[in-house]
C-alpha cells in the first residue's frame, strides 16, 4: 500500500491551500513570512509547517502535526476554523500527525496544543476567508464589504446572488501563505468559540468505533510480544528456542538480535503464552544492579549522588540576611511516579519493499521517524509514521518504545502487519518515570508577616528523554547486538519549572542540583511544576501560620498580578459560601503554570479518620486560561488534572529493589479507584480579550498542595513527603 502524499492528495481539483506556522511563534500579524508565491514542489518558507485547505465542495481540511491525546485538540481546531469561516463543524476535517501528510510539529506536549495550534489555525482560517472574499468580489464585480460567507458559499448582501467556493476557485489550485495582517472575527460576532462544543470522538468511543491504535486490524495481521530482561542492565545468555518451538509449534518467528528477544504468531494468545514461557526459560546476566535502598531512604540516597549545581534565580540580596536571624525551613519529597496509561502501549508495523510503515500513538511522529531511522540504519524517507490515538499518556511513556519494538520485529518479518501491545508488567516496569525530587524552601518573615527572603534548593533528575533523533533513548536499542545507549542529560530544565514562586518576594535565590538517579526517567505531565508547587504552596501555608494569617489573605498579600488575585478571591468566595460538614478541613493552593500560562487556584476538603485514613471529599478549581475556546474541554481537563494529581499525591510511588522495579501492576502501584475520587467543581474565568493559555497541566501542582494543606488543617499533621497516605502514618 502506498500512502497518499499531501501533494497528490490535493492535486485533484480546484482548491485553496493556506500555509501557516504552527508552533511557538507569537501569533500576531506580521510575523508570518512574506514569501508570496510558493513553488510547486517545495515550500520556500521554512516557517510554513501546516496547511489549511478549502476543498471544491466547500469543505475544509486542516493538516496539523499534533496528535489527539484526550485533550480535545481536534475539536478545538475545528471550532476556531468553523468560527472564522462560518462553517458547520461537520464540514471540517482535521488530519492529525502523519509523516506523509502533515507538517512536522515535533512533540504534542507542554499544554501548548491549544495555545499554539488552534490560534495558528484560526489565523489561517481568517486569512482564507479574506482571500475567498477577495476572489469572490472580483468575480461578482463588487467590494468585499458587500459580501457574506457561510458554509462554503459567498453571497451578496443586497441581492440573492451567491457563488460556491468551487466557482470562486474556478478549478485552480491556489496556494498562499498567511502573509498579511489578519483580521479575526470580532468578539461580538463569535458563535462557536467559547461554546461547549461536544467532542465527536467521545461519541465514537462510546459507540465502540475503532478509535485507537489498539483497534487497528489489517488482513493477515500477526501478533508479537517482546521478552524484556530481568533488569535494566542485562544480557541474554541463553534462550531455549527448541523447547519453545516444541511447546508452540505454530509460532511464526522468534526474533533475536543481541539481547532483544521477540516472538511472532498469528494468534495473539499464543504470543502471550510464548512470552511467558520465555520469561521462565531464558538465562540472563545482570551486569549492574540497582542501589540497595532501605525503606524510606530514597531522599538521602539521591542527595548523596554527585550533582551539578546551578543558581537559576538570584534577586535582591540574600547573603546580607543575617545568619543569626531565624529562617523558617522545611524539606519536601516527591517519589518517582509513573504515567500508568490504562491501555498498555501498542503499535503496528509493516516492512515491505524497503519501506517501513508505522502506526503509533507516539506524541511526536517526526522525531520518532528520525530516531527509528538511526536505530534501523534506514533512510528516513523510507519510514512512514502515522499517529493514531492511544490510551491517555500524560507525557512520554512507552509509546515510542513499543513502536521501536514493532519496527525491529516487522523488519525481521517482512510482508505482514505486525501488532504488538505491551503487557501490564511491561508498561509498569519499563516506562520512563517522572523523576523523584527533593525540595527545600526556607524563608524569613518581616514583623508584619511579609516574606522578605526566600531561598529554595531542589534536587532532581532530568525531565525529558524523548527520543528526539537519539536512538539510545529507545528502549529496545539498548539490547541490540550493537547496543545504542544514551549518555546525554536530557531536559534538566523541566525540573525548575515553577521553582520560582509567583509571589512578590524582594530577596530570592533558587538553586538546582541535578543528579543521575537509578531509574529510567522522562517527561510526565507538568514536569517539575508538580513537585515544586506542592512544596512551595505547602510552605506558603506553613508561613501563613507562622505569620498568624489566613491562608487566603497570606497569598493575596504577596500577589501583584490582578488575574492571579482574582482566581484566589473567587475560590475564597466559593469555599466560604459552601457549608462544610463537621470534622472536615479545607486546604488551598495557587499557581500560575510555568509562571506564564494558566492561573489556577484549588481548594480541597478532607476528613481524616482515627487511624489516619484520609477521605478526600471535594475539590474546587478556579481557572483563568485567557480566552476559552471550549469551556467544557477546559473543565474536563481541569477536573481530570485535579483527580489525577490527587491520586499521585495520596497514593503513588514507584518501588524497586536491587534487581528491578517491584511496582509492576495495579496492586503494587495502586491509583485512585471510583470510590476514592472526590467530587469536583471547576469555575472558569473567561477572558475573550486575552490570548488563550495552555491549561492541561495547570491543576497538577496546586491540587497536590491543596490536598496536603487540607490534611494539615483537618488533623494537624503536616505531611511533607509523598505519598501522603503512606507518610501520614509514619
Amino acid at each position: 500500500m502506498i500512502p497518499q502524499t499531501r501533494r497528490n492528495f490535493i492535486k485533484t481539483a480546484g482548491s485553496l491551500t493556506i500555509g501557516f506556522s504552527l508552533g511557538g511563534i507569537p501569533l500576531f500579524p506580521g510575523v508570518f513570512s512574506c514569501s508570496g508565491e510558493i513553488p510547486d514542489t517545495t515550500r520556500s518558507s521554512s516557517s510554513v509547517n501546516a496547511w489549511l485547505e478549502i476543498l471544491p465542495n466547500g469543505n475544509l481540511r486542516v493538516f496539523t502535526g499534533k496528535i489527539e491525546i484526550g485533550q480535545g485538540i481536534r475539536t478545538a481546531i475545528a471550532q476556531v476554523a468553523a468560527e472564522e469561516l462560518n462553517m458547520d463543524m461537520e464540514k471540517i476535517e482535521v488530519v492529525l500527525a502523519d509523516t506523509d501528510r502533515t507538517p512536522n510539529e515535533s512533540y504534542t506536549s507542554g499544554s501548548r496544543s491549544i495555545e499554539s495550534s488552534a490560534m495558528s489555525v484560526r489565523h489561517a482560517a481568517a486569512y482564507a476567508r479574506q482571500k475567498l472574499l477577495d476572489l469572490a468580489a472580483k468575480r461578482l464585480n463588487t467590494s468585499t464589504d458587500d459580501l457574506w460567507i457561510k458554509n462554503g458559499k459567498v453571497g451578496h448582501k443586497n441581492d440573492k446572488k451567491t457563488v460556491s467556493f468551487n466557482d470562486i476557485l474556478g478549478g485552480h489550485q491556489i496556494e498562499d501563505e498567511v502573509n498579511l495582517e489578519v483580521q479575526l472575527k470580532p468578539r461580538a460576532d463569535r458563535k462557536v468559540i467559547g461554546k461547549p462544543v461536544p467532542r465527536q470522538d467521545i461519541y465514537d468511543m462510546a459507540a465502540a468505533a475503532p478509535v485507537f491504535v489498539h483497534n487497528l486490524r489489517f488482513p493477515d495481521m500477526v501478533h508479537a510480544r517482546v521478552v524484556r530482561p530481568p533488569a535494566y542492565q542485562a544480557n541474554l545468555k541463553e534462550a531455549d528456542e527448541t523447547a519453545l518451538l516444541q511447546q508452540f509449534p505454530k509460532l511464526l518467528k522468534v526474533v533475536r538480535n543481541g539481547s532483544f528477544l521477540g516472538v511472532i504468531s498469528k494468534d495473539e494468545y499464543t504470543s502471550i503464552r510464548a512470552q511467558e514461557f520465555l520469561k521462565e526459560n531464558t538465562t540472563w546476566t545482570v551486569s549492574e544492579k540497582l542501589p540497595d535502598i532501605k525503606d524510606g531512604g530514597l531522599p538521602e540516597y539521591l542527595k548523596s549522588l554527585p550533582a551539578k549545581d546551578e543558581t537559576v534565580v538570584d534577586k535582591g540580596n540574600i547573603s546580607k540576611a543575617n545568619a543569626d536571624t531565624s529562617w523558617i525551613k522545611a524539606s519536601y519529597f516527591k517519589p518517582y511516579i509513573m504515567h500508568g496509561a490504562i491501555g498498555p502501549s501498542c503499535a503496528v508495523g509493516l516492512y515491505e519493499a524497503d519501506q517501513l510503515y508505522i502506526w503509533t500513538h507516539s506524541q511526536g511522529v517526526y522525531p520518532l521517524r528520525e530516531t527509528l531511522s538511526g536505530m534501523l540504519n534506514m533512510p528516513m524517507e523510507n519510514i512512514h509514521v502515522k499517529g493514531v490515538p492511544g490510551s491517555g499518556c500524560y507525557g512520554h511513556n512507552g509509546a515510542d518504545d513499543v513502536t521501536a519494538d514493532v519496527a525491529l520485529l516487522a523488519r525481521a518479518y517482512p510482508g505482514k502487519h505486525v501488532r504488538l501491545q505491551w503487557s501490564r508488567h511491561d508498561e509498569h516496569a519499563w516506562e520512563p518515570y517522572g523523576s523523584a525530587m527533593i525540595l527545600e524552601p526556607k524563608a524569613r518573615l518581616s514583623n508584619s508577616g511579609k516574606i522578605t527572603h526566600w531561598e529554595y534548593d531542589l534536587w532532581s533528575d532530568t525531565h525529558s528523554t524523548r527520543p528526539g533523533g537519539n536512538p539510545g533513548r529507545l528502549l529496545p536499542a539498548w539490547y541490540l547486538d550493537k547496543p545504542m545507549t544514551d549518555n546525554s542529560d536530557g531536559y534538566f530544565g523541566g525540573a525548575s519549572r515553577n521553582a520560582e514562586p509567583y509571589y512578590r518576594i524582594p530577596n530570592q535565590q533558587v538553586h538546582t542540583h541535578f543528579f543521575h538517579g537509578p531509574l529510567r526517567i522522562s517527561a510526565l505531565r507538568g514536569l517539575g511544576a508538580y513537585a515544586n508547587i506542592f512544596a512551595i504552596e505547602s510552605f506558603m501555608d506553613e508561613l501563613a501560620e507562622q505569620a498568624g494569617k489566613d491562608p487566603y489573605d497570606f497569598r493575596l498579600m504577596h500577589l501583584d498580578d490582578p488575574r492571579a488575585k482574582e482566581v484566589v478571591e473567587k475560590l475564597h468566595k466559593l469555599t466560604s459560601t459552601t457549608s462544610h460538614p463537621e470534622g472536615t478541613g479545607l486546604g488551598i493552593a495557587f499557581s500560575r503554570y510555568k509562571n506564564n500560562a494558566a492561573y489556577c487556584a484549588i481548594a480541597a476538603r478532607v476528613a481524616v479518620k482515627d487511624d489516619n485514613d484520609i477521605q478526600l471529599q471535594k475539590m474546587w478549581a478556579v481557572i483563568d486560561a485567557g480566552e476559552t475556546i471550549n469551556p467544557d474541554g477546559l473543565k474536563n481537563q481541569t477536573e481530570g488534572g485535579m483527580i489525577q494529581s490527587a491520586s499521585w499525591t495520596l497514593k503513588e510511588e514507584v518501588t524497586f529493589n536491587t534487581q528491578h522495579i517491584t511496582s509492576r501492576d495495579w496492586n503494587s502501584y495502586p491509583i485512585f479507584r471510583f470510590d476514592e475520587v472526590p467530587e469536583v467543581e471547576v469555575i472558569i474565568i473567561d477572558r475573550p480579550e486575552a490570548p488563550p493559555l495552555g491549561a492541561g497541566e495547570a491543576a497538577q501542582g496546586p491540587a497536590a498542595a491543596a490536598v496536603a494543606n487540607a490534611v494539615y488543617h483537618t488533623c494537624g499533621k503536616r505531611v511533607r513527603r509523598l505519598p501522603v497516605n503512606k507518610y501520614i502514618k509514619m
Binding site: 468511543m205 465502540a208 481530570g640 485535579m642
Partner: protein, 154 residues
Amino acid sequence: MSTITLQIVVNGKTHTVEADPATPLLYVLRDHLQLNGPRFGCGLAQCGSCTVLMDGNAIRSCSIPVQAVTETEITTLEGIAQDAESLHPVQQAFVEEQAAQCGYCLNGAIMAAVALLRRNPDPNDEEIRNDLHGILCRCGAQARMIRAIKKVKG
C-alpha cells in the same frame, strides 16, 4: 496448545470459533470477532477495560477462558443498544456528559454501569462508586462518569 471448535453467543448471534479452549474470552472477542469495545488493560482482572456482560452481569473477559462461556450469552459494548443506529441510554448519557478524556476505559465504565442499572435502576452516589470499584480511569474522568450514570434512571 491445541485448538478446538467452540460455539459462543455474542450480542445475540452464535459464532463458531477455532481456539485453544484456555484462551481468555477477550482475545476471542477482539481477534476472532473483531470487536472494539472490550480492550486489553492488564490481563490481571485489575482494571476492568475488558468488561463484557455474561448473562447480564459484568465480568472481566481477560480472566475467563472462552470455554467457560459457551453456555452463556455474552454482550459487548457493540451489543447493548437497540440497533446499530441508536445508543443505549448509558452510552447516550456518557456522550451528553462528555464523560471521557482519552476514552480507553470507557468500555469498562459503560458496561459496569449497564450491569448496575439492571440490578438497581436508581443507584445513589455511593452505590455507583462501590460498584465501579473495579474500573480504573487514569484521566480522572470518573466524576463525569458518575454524573452520567446518575442521569440514567431505570
